[in-house]
Symmetry: C2
Subunit: 142 residues, 2 copies
């Protein structure tokens, strides 16, 4: 039987593939319906994941999204786990002259529900510059 650590890493790897292929339904199936998510964009807090929202998000790009997870750390006890990692995303917004590349921090909280590790909490973010600009720090690299 695959260890819980391997199962959770497989969940993360499958999400990377789903991001790269634009598989909104696959991504949404990984979340509990009441998952509390803190996303890169406002609002402060969301509940649940929406395939329609994700499809619209993918549709806003020319070509595929590239996605990478680095330094994945997994902590597990019984049916509870959390992970943290530094993730890279790059894409070309529809109609934009050039693409962007962005590193951000990602924390997942997971529960093993009916034998499957399921996301019950997600927190993705960039820090921001505490100078006059108060801009998101989108140029940082690990």
């Amino acid at each position: 039987m695959t260890s819980d650590d391997t199962q959770i890493r497989d969940v993360v790897t499958a999400r990377v593939s789903a991001m790269r292929t634009g598989d909104a339904a696959g991504l949404v199936s990984g979340y509990a319906p009441d998952a509390v998510t803190f996303d890169l964009a406002p609002p402060l807090r969301n509940v649940g994941a929406s395939a329609t929202k994700l499809r619209n998000w993918f549709a806003g790009f020319d070509g595929p999204v590239d996605y990478e997870v680095r330094d994945l750390d997994v902590s597990i006890s019984g049916d509870l786990a959390f992970t943290h990692s530094l993730n890279r995303m790059s894409a070309i917004p529809h109609g934009a002259p050039t693409g962007f590349e962005l590193w951000f921090r990602s924390t997942l909280g997971l529960r093993k529900l009916d034998g499957s590790w399921t996301i019950v909490h997600e927190h993705n973010s960039t820090p921001f510059y505490m100078d006059g600009s108060l801009r998101a720090a989108l140029d940082l690299k690990p």
Copy 2:
């Protein structure tokens, strides 16, 4: 014996008090030495907590920091736990004409080490506006 849920909520309450009284040593004592933290300000990732850095941070304000934790959700299994909440901080930067108030998202990962719930991961953030400004969304409220 106090339940783990109560013990973890007590950890969070003690941190609120330590923020309000500027107790840098008290705050730092709650972290594991190898805790990976994702903070509001750059860099992307820190390891461990520093009382000196925290003391300097407190010294940058006129008067006390106000701090509040709302919607604290606690998940526990065995010796592992994570929490998420929406936190409010307000303070007056030294020499600034006026103070600021900020709501941000907070996720904690905890391990029960030698009988004490200890922070092994922290992720604090604001989202950012994905318009031309790319500014941190510092005006959001729960």
